[in-house]
């Protein structure tokens, strides 16, 4: 129990830390508002000829996009912090404490991300409710989508931790970060749900784990309990597999620490 408690405390202390500067999120909210308005207009134009595309009505599409963007904006950036720690050797000062380095960062990441997720969801729902008066907000989807988004963000954490670890081999790992973020934007299902992709791309997107970061939570959000167990268990399975791989990679890469100086 004590082993778990320490990570919960890191979660709590980081949450307090984030709350000190919650005002900094205002710029994200403004960006979010602008993006929602721009894309709702764009989709309105696309839907002007067809009321339903691949099972998505215009309203459903807007709510999907709102939640996908919410998850996307809730990611807490930490790659640079870890990469800098690895390059400067400061990682040494974190490793001499009785906790797991990966779980230390995960606790920090997930606590900041949950706070952001909560606030972004609130902002997104408020904007869309005002813009589409009378449209029923998916309440069950809200709870299930939030749960799925936490798992999605955890999968994202694992990918980002991999990229951060690459600093052991590469001086500059920004290219990996760039490619990864573009994958999320495209086949990750941020702008368009996977159902709307051409057949071949759909097969590829469905086969890759990236869909569980944004697409799965946004789909659960709009569909509620429908297919929830199937989607959620696939998400959990992906997270487990990736976690084992990252833990193994981290243990192996420890021998590469090249902390000169002093």
């Amino acid at each position: 129990m004590k082993k778990v408690k320490k990570y919960f405390k890191i979660f709590k202390i980081n949450f307090s830390n984030e709350l000190m500067y919650v005002i900094n999120y205002v710029s994200t909210f403004l960006f979010f508002g602008v993006v929602l308005i721009v894309f709702s207009q764009l989709w309105r134009a696309i839907y002007s000829e067809n009321p339903v595309i691949e099972g998505f009505t215009y309203e459903k599409m807007i709510w999907y996009f709102m939640y996908a963007e919410t998850v996307m904006l809730s990611r807490f950036p930490f790659v640079r912090e870890i990469a800098d720690e690895i390059k400067s050797g400061d990682i040494a000062y974190r490793l001499n404490k009785p906790y797991s380095y990966i779980l230390y960062y995960y606790s920090k990441f997930i606590s900041s991300s949950i706070l952001k997720l909560f606030l972004n969801t609130l902002v997104g729902i408020t904007i869309l409710t005002i813009a589409f008066k009378g449209y029923p907000m998916p309440l069950i989807g809200l709870i299930l989508g939030f749960t799925s988004a936490i798992i999605g963000l955890s999968i994202h954490f694992v990918f980002h931790f991999f990229i951060a670890l690459s600093a052991m081999w590469f001086e500059d790992n920004t290219a990996f970060l760039f490619v990864y973020s573009k994958i999320l934007l495209t086949i990750g299902g941020l702008f368009i749900p996977i159902e709307m992709f051409p057949e071949t791309v759909k097969i590829i997107a469905n086969a890759l784990p990236f869909k569980h970061i944004i697409y799965t939570p946004a789909t659960i959000y709009i569909n509620g309990a429908e297919n929830f167990l199937k989607l959620f268990s696939a998400q959990i399975f992906t997270l487990l597999i990736l976690s084992v791989v990252v833990a193994f990679a981290f243990e192996k890469s420890k021998k590469r620490f090249n902390v000169n100086g002093g």
């Binding site: 004590k2 408690k5 320490k6 202390i13 830390n17 000190m20 040494a92 000062y93 001499n96 002093g262």
Partner: protein
């Protein structure tokens, strides 16, 4: 009882090398060349329980690499290290419950939150029982006089206040050994002395073993029983601080005001400065005793005023770094 042992420890790092110029840059792209940098070269040392040991050396000497191997963060290329009976890199987590560390230039506290939050977090990280934690915090707060700082965000604390809190936090879990890496760096004289007194006090009351690295000779002089000087990964000198002083403080600096102008010409006396009846001498007491020098002077003129000082410890250490340190027989040891 020996709490820390290192035997024939080596640590090599592979470093990429490249000659200057664009052509060499292209060459290096396809045929990279590496050299082994010996960060630590055949180090042997032992530390007794309750000892305050200084580990000194210029930048890049291998001090931090050695500490990182002792705390289990780095694997040595070869050799053996045992800290509190554990092999650090094999039992890093187990060892971390028994040791503490403070790195003067790094902070383990949360910058935007008050120190109280870090204390609370560390209590859970080190799995300290709530009752013991409260008792220990009270003890440390009183000893370090940080009661009024606990609720102020760390970013608002002065460096001296922060270091006091850092050391207190690192002692929360009652470590048996504490590694202090430049704990007094950047502090003013008053705070430096305060920190030194606190470390001394803890060493006495808790039998805490202190392994200290510092560039500040004052830390060594005022705190440590023993000193190890390292450079280029090799131990240059291992000695007790008192022995070091005794062996290297053979020279005395004399500033004299004489009644009449006079320059003593004796073996072992070097004239550093001379202006009218004022004279500054460097006396090597092995070659000429203080008595002989003063006898020589008073035979020729009277002494109006006199001041004697020793070679600063800083200079002694610098001489050892630069290779001009000598042993008892006057032979170079470096």
């Amino acid at each position: 009882m020996k709490v820390l042992k290192a035997k024939n420890v080596n640590k090599y790092f592979k470093t990429k090398v490249k000659k200057s110029g664009l052509k060499e840059s292209f060459k290096s792209l396809f045929n990279p060349q590496y050299i082994d940098v010996k960060a630590v070269n055949d180090i042997n040392l032992e530390v007794e329980k309750g000892e305050i040991m200084a580990f000194m050396g210029p930048n890049g000497a291998g001090k931090s690499t050695t500490i990182k191997m002792m705390t289990g963060i780095l694997f040595p290329t070869s050799g053996e290290i045992e800290v509190l009976g554990l092999i650090p890199w094999k039992k890093r987590k187990e060892l971390s419950y028994k040791i503490g560390s403070v790195f003067g230039q790094k902070s383990q506290m949360w910058f935007h939150l008050p120190p109280e939050d870090t204390f609370d977090l560390m209590a859970d990280i080190y799995e300290i029982d709530r009752y013991d934690y409260k008792k220990r915090v009270k003890e440390l707060v009183d000893r370090f006089d940080i009661g009024n700082l606990l609720t102020i965000p760390v970013r608002k604390l002065s460096l001296g206040q922060r270091i006091r809190c850092e050391i207190a936090v690192s002692l929360l879990h009652k470590p048996e050994i504490i590694f202090l890496d430049e704990p007094t760096i950047g502090l003013d004289v008053v705070v430096k002395n305060q920190i030194r007194e606190l470390i001394k006090d803890l060493n006495k009351k808790e039998q805490l073993t202190v392994f200290l690295t510092s560039h500040d000779v004052g830390d060594v002089e005022k705190l440590c029983n023993r000193v190890i000087i390292i450079d280029h990964g090799k131990i240059l000198l291992e000695s007790t601080v008192s022995k070091l002083k005794r062996e290297y403080l053979k020279n005395k600096i004399l500033s004299l005001k004489l009644e009449e102008e006079y320059i003593p010409k004796l073996k072992g006396v070097e004239i550093l400065k001379h202006k009218g009846t004022g004279i500054k001498l460097d006396l090597n007491t092995e070659e000429c005793s203080m008595k002989d020098l003063l006898d020589n002077i008073v035979k020729n003129t009277a002494i109006v005023d006199m001041h004697v000082s020793e070679t600063p410890m800083e200079e002694i250490i610098q001489n050892i770094y630069t290779g001009s340190g000598k042993n008892e027989k006057g032979e170079k040891i470096l």
